[in-house]
Assembly symmetry: C2
């Protein structure tokens, strides 16, 4: 098998490194030598051994009949899409670490692969090094998935963990994440939840078998989470995590990205720092969780190489994967029942009493030397919550509780 | 695909139930209807719908050319072995939930399957409903596995969690586990570690690619764990868990089943109650963990059915799995470096000082109103530990620390 790697950035160079370093192991596993014939990048890499196989023009790869597989690690939905689609149309399988590509064009690329008896795989697009997509296809086959909830973004999980453990403010931990290279200078893809949104869209599509459009998923980031929220969460026995989630409740499918109050006993509760984890509930399998490095050069590249191995093992045969080429209608989240954490600015006893009564709260929480109070509402739809909340101008924050 | 289910106990009846209830889903996933043509059991089940397909004689199944797959859920290594082997020799694929069968005869059965272009699969033999074996084969293919450590037995994890959280004694929680049906009347398979031993033998064979003989794995159960050990562990920031573990340390392979001191930050630390979890360290993937229900009718049966699906998807083709038909030589655990928790009966200052000095302990831990003291040793081989320990008749307990 001759492969071409598109993009020689962090992930692409990791893929080249692993395919070289683990050649013997991979040959044993696939029964065939896998080698990288081309690396495509616009840049030059003087002195790097990759120079010998570096090309700047995708057509060299497209027109070489020896290349059976393109490995896309460029990112984005421009050239990445054009190249992967032309490769598939030209009879070459493809794999990618690019969540944006899969979330936007996955249905089309999967359909071409199926029609051509090729494979289009994307294990690394969600959860970095964590095996999650292939286990959903090959292991969770005996029943229906009723819920997937994941900590899908390491940067924001790192930030929230720091805020929690060290009592620091959002802006402060953001600066640290940027200094460490975890967050970009423009951090919006992470902190606004856009990255997690594409990932839960992919997982939802797999879980429910139809395309879930990421643009339909209600997405809220972590930019309004404060030290006060963290302090109340800790006192009330919860962690605040940014969760991507999809659920089947009596045939209605809900999906969202939002910071959530996560109770101590939940399997995702202890997942901190840059780690990712995906919690999966099946009607037959019960509760499962997959945990690991959600990013990083070698973990992510190792997930890409696992796709290379799987594709090499299955010539002329489309491995079961993907979803039907039909868009799933998500239900409005305002209709989903939940508990909510609500924090109030005022600490006036009449407000406390009115709030407790209105939201059916069992208790009011206060913190010494802090103004305001907080409560957990009874279970209610978000529409109901919003109706009640309209009467309280003192509400400073609302965060749903993970059910 | 016509299957025969061998054994109509908890797991076998779960398999029949899922294959019936999820027929439509499974047909969609495999492109073929999977139906159960026979169930083999020595018992009769008057009134149960299984009656119509119940047989008492395995030859009916063996001699029916329509049966392409036997699903073994009987347990043991007697008839289960004979039946699975004859099925494979007769050209029928097989899957099993039976860890004892796989740990003892896996190499032989895998070799027959490979030779006949059939499949022999055993996802449910380790970790119940947790997808672990197939992810190791299909996802962890880009690098070498350097360690697998698992909470592989739900009964003992339930017992240790109870002892920890409720401060109760071993005998007391064992009675509760028996009353709840988690532990057998003769609990030795669980509490002596024999069950975990077979499971870690299977995982080690996969991780290192050669047969690991379970009889070579040093196995210690939880019968000598006391309330005092638990109290010291809690005070020192550890949990005591029964762990099956295998490691590659500079080319030496170690394997063991033992109660261990697990530090707070370890991914396995929060795994409590009847849940199982398997921690996997890869040289490329980094740290991963797979968590879920380690037992239970439907979770375990769903793992068996996932094998049925995988086998149905791959007619005439052996999916990459198993290990080389060669026995791996394990290194002596006495040569492995570790820290050790050591508890002493005496609380005499001269003993404390001598012990701290001998074991290179950084501090001595005591508990109010409890006699004795405890320490964590410096890192040393077990041979070194044993040499030093010989000088202290006051040692009441030693438990290795998970590194």
């Amino acid at each position: 098998m001759k492969a071409a790697v598109l993009g020689y950035g962090t992930i692409g160079s990791g893929v080249v490194e692993i395919l070289e370093q683990k050649k013997e192991l991979i040959t044993r596993e696939t029964g065939e030598e896998v080698s990288v014939k081309y690396v495509l990048d616009l840049r030059d890499f003087p002195g790097d051994p990759v120079e010998k196989i570096l090309v700047h023009d995708f057509d060299t790869i497209l027109n070489d009949p020896e290349v059976g597989l393109v490995v896309e690690t460029m990112g984005g939905t421009g050239a990445a899409y054009t190249f992967v689609k032309s490769a598939l149309l030209a009879g070459k399988s493809a794999c990618t670490s690019n969540k944006a590509l899969v979330a936007k064009y996955g249905s089309e690329l999967l359909a071409i692969a199926r029609e051509k008896k090729l494979n289009f795989q994307f294990e690394a697009s969600v959860g970095g090094g964590i095996p999650i997509i292939r286990p959903l296809y090959s292991c969770m086959t005996a029943g229906n998935i009723t819920e997937i909830t994941g900590i899908l973004n390491g940067t924001t999980n790192f930030m929230l963990s720091k805020m929690d453990l060290e009592g620091r403010a959002y802006e402060d931990v953001l600066k640290e994440a940027q200094a460490l290279g975890y967050a970009e200078r423009d951090p919006s893809a992470d902190v606004e939840g856009y990255d997690a949104c594409r990932k839960i869209a992919i997982l939802s599509s797999i879980a429910f078998g139809k395309f879930v459009d990421f643009e339909q998923i209600e997405t809220r980031g972590i930019t309004d989470i404060t030290k006060d929220d963290m302090a109340f969460a800790r006192k009330m026995g919860y962690a605040i995590k940014l969760l991507g989630s999809c659920k089947n409740v009596d045939g209605k499918i809900y999906a969202s990205v939002s910071p959530k109050f996560l109770p101590t006993g939940h399997p995702l509760y202890p997942v901190s720092g840059v780690f990712n984890a995906v919690y999966v509930k099946g009607d037959m399998s019960g509760d499962l969780m997959f945990y690991g490095s959600g990013a990083g050069k070698l973990p992510t590249a190792s997930a890409v190489v696992a796709d290379v191995v799987e594709i090499t093992r299955n010539p002329g045969r489309t491995v079961f994967a993907g979803w039907a080429d039909e868009t799933l209608a998500l239900s409005e989240n305002t209709g989903a029942e939940n508990q909510y954490f609500v924090r109030f600015n005022a600490a006036d006893q009449s407000v406390e009493e009115a709030a407790a009564a209105a939201f059916g709260a069992e208790e009011i929480t206060k913190i010494d030397h802090e103004p305001g109070f907080a409560l957990l509402t009874a279970k209610m739809t978000r529409a109901e919550y919003e109706e009640k909340a309209a009467a309280f101008s003192q509400i400073a924050q609302m965060i749903p509780v993970q059910g």
